[in-house]
């Protein structure tokens, strides 16, 4: 199993600013992902964080808004840029998958005011 640590666990941010969320896995993993869970909604995949190359974004998400870094096999960051109240969500980091269990961080609860 893998343990995923995310920080911050929550934050309240001013509109127009940016927040970087960190995700640390306690073991090397091939795949890492970032999800968004809007209030009362299910999880939506933002992007796949690729080690050593640019992230792969899902439809509706762009690099300028959600830049992602993956410098090694245990760490990734997601930045939410130029925030607006619509960005208020829970952002979750995930590792693993592909016929095996995907592990999730506790999430970062973001409120934009």
């Amino acid at each position: 199993s893998a343990v995923i640590s995310q920080k911050p666990s929550r934050d309240i941010c001013q509109r127009g600013t940016s927040l970087t969320i960190q995700c640390q896995v306690d073991s090397q993993v091939t795949m890492m992902f970032w999800y968004r869970q809007q209030p009362g909604q299910s999880l939506t995949l933002i992007a796949t964080a690729n080690q050593g190359s640019e992230a792969t974004y899902e439809s509706g998400f762009v690099i300028d808004k959600f830049p992602i870094s993956r410098p090694n096999l245990t760490f990734s960051t997601l930045t939410v840029s130029n925030m607006s109240p619509e960005d208020s969500s829970i952002y979750l980091c995930s590792a693993g998958g592909m016929n095996t269990e995907a592990f999730f961080g506790q999430g970062t609860r973001l409120t934009v005011v």
């Binding site: 299910s42 939506t44 995930s94 995907a102 506790q106």
Partner: protein, 113 residues
Amino acid sequence: AQSVTQLDSHVSVSEGTPVLLRCNYSSSYSPSLFWYVQHPNKGLQLLLKYTSAATLVKGINGFEAEFKKSETSFHLTKPSAHMSDAAEYFCVVSGRNDYKLSFGAGTTVTVRA
């Protein structure tokens, strides 16, 4: 592409009675299917997974699910609900050649004393 549909947005049961959460999937190949639970303000926890082995899958906390290819279903059941089962439940399908997960809309379970 694969997807899942959770047929009930909300299920309410009395403590000690059976729980049934319904999930149908759509996939052009034999899928990997999962049920995750999310307690309030907590991270996602894997309940069980189907990966083309036994069609009846037993999970944690007394939950089980049956994969029925003819019905494209993967319903989650528990014989006797406990108050601690009150949570959000997600049916999830993974891609064939990648690690991406597609989440259902979720089913909120409430348990009455």
